[in-house]
Subunit: 282 residues, 2 copies
């Protein structure tokens, strides 16, 4: 890409990544351009993505990741009624944006450094955001965000946001990206870019989502239901890849059963963002 990676350019890539991910269809179980849920619709995701542009741009200017996640959560929910649309995506995008602004040619290393530099204040802001969007995140049950004393608890124990993610990483694949060097996000970026070279952007997004589903049980599904349900979805995705079921059959089944593998979608957003930064075109 010949483009200069200005904060504005990087922020637009992040917004576009969110818009393209939710547009990818059929993305079994998740909201897409052709599938709404009763309380959240496709247009909510578009508005949410566009609403956080200034927060994404601000990420290049020395603000804490916790503060950015809190501000993005507030901005997004002020623009649309669908609630927590991109909380997991923020956890991945903000370190990556910071990295892109600092040193785009060393994106992965910079992102790893950015999350290791998070502070106790980042953790406190993160938990404030967390409370607003009522996300469930197992592995940190001892830190009840609805309980004000937890914020004191974080401060007293000196937990940074990286520490929180490390605690959560066992049961949360988004948190795990912080501790595994964003491995799946970069893997997703490669898969998306490769497929885009030979096919449509929509197929690149949908098939990469399917690969990720088949690769690991989605932890959002495990938290919302249980691990057996998450493994069931993983098995179905493998069935599609191995041609025992069609993508549309999988799609219809997950929508009918209201199973939305949201964490996998978050990884796909990070992957699209990285691919766009590296010059992938729509």
């Amino acid at each position: 890409m010949e483009r200069l990676l200005t904060p504005s350019y990087i922020a637009r890539c992040a917004v576009l990544a969110m818009a393209l991910e939710v547009s990818g269809t059929p993305k079994p179980g998740n909201i897409d351009r052709d599938h709404d849920y009763a309380d959240t619709k496709y247009e909510d995701f578009l508005a949410a993505a566009i609403s956080v542009f200034p927060v994404m741009e601000k990420a290049c200017h020395n603000h804490g990741i916790g503060e950015l996640i809190l501000e993005a959560s507030e901005e997004s929910t002020a623009w649309q009624p669908g609630g927590n649309t991109h909380f997991g995506a923020y956890i991945l995008l903000f370190p990556l944006i910071k990295a892109a602004c600092a040193n785009p040619s060393g994106l992965q290393d910079e992102a790893i450094q950015a999350v290791r530099e998070t502070t106790v204040e980042d953790a406190v802001d993160f938990y404030k955001a967390f409370g607003k969007v009522q996300v469930k995140m197992k592995g940190s049950e001892d830190l009840d965000v609805s309980d004000a004393s937890s914020l004191d608890d974080i401060r007293n124990r000196g937990l940074t946001l990286f520490d929180i993610m490390e605690i959560s990483s066992k049961n949360d694949m988004v948190a795990r990206e912080w501790t595994n060097g964003f491995a799946r996000s970069f893997k997703a970026a490669e898969l998306i870019s490769e497929r885009r070279d030979g096919g449509t952007l929509n197929d690149a997004i949908v098939l990469t989502y399917l690969d990720l589903l088949a690769d690991e049980p989605d932890t959002f599904v495990a938290k919302k239901y249980d691990m057996s349900r998450a493994l069931y979805v993983q098995g179905l995705a493998i069935d599609v890849i191995e041609r025992r079921m069609t993508l549309n059959e999988l799609s219809n089944r997950l929508y009918r059963e209201k199973i939305n593998p949201g964490s996998t979608a978050d990884i796909v957003i990070a992957g699209i963002f990285i691919a766009l930064l590296r010059g992938m075109r729509v």
Copy 2:
């Protein structure tokens, strides 16, 4: 709306208006979330909308409308391969953005004033943009944009951008908004807001588009084909409203015949933008 209308907020409303318009489906004949054309796809429109955020924000800071249209055209085509996606929309959005920044409570009067204040340099920049996107605009055939001497001609004749729009207004419904006080844009905003109160956002957008189609022959269709084709589309839209044909039948027919009423879509974008500024929620 409790929100402060900052340049950033206004620009995000403009981007969201473009994203929501192209998402509205079925929007007979035009690209929407479920319909691509061979050379332009839905994702191109999303990327184009998001790419111009900084130009939309800049419109609040004393830049000429011609310069803004030129810059938006360059930015948009650098981000996506679909060509001229929003040229007509820019002609409507930039005066409206300027108006919203100057005096949101007197939006229509301010927009009328903004277009009357355009200069010869605006006209020159507009024609430069025009050349890039190869838009056809009847009524100003004597000003051939591919011919460099035309820019001198504009300067020698002292034509402002408002003058150009006045010349074009007979055969171009977007240009006509400049001379009729943005009447159809504000009418569209009312229709969209009213319908949104009682129904879905998608229906509000699609039904308003249909009303506009039935109300006047689309001048983009008239220029691309001829007036008889534009009147044929108008007649079909009336048939749908009067229940002699379904919306899906109209949709299938226009896609099959490759008739895309693009100017009507531009008016809908302006209408959504005004409605969002006035507090409509997704």
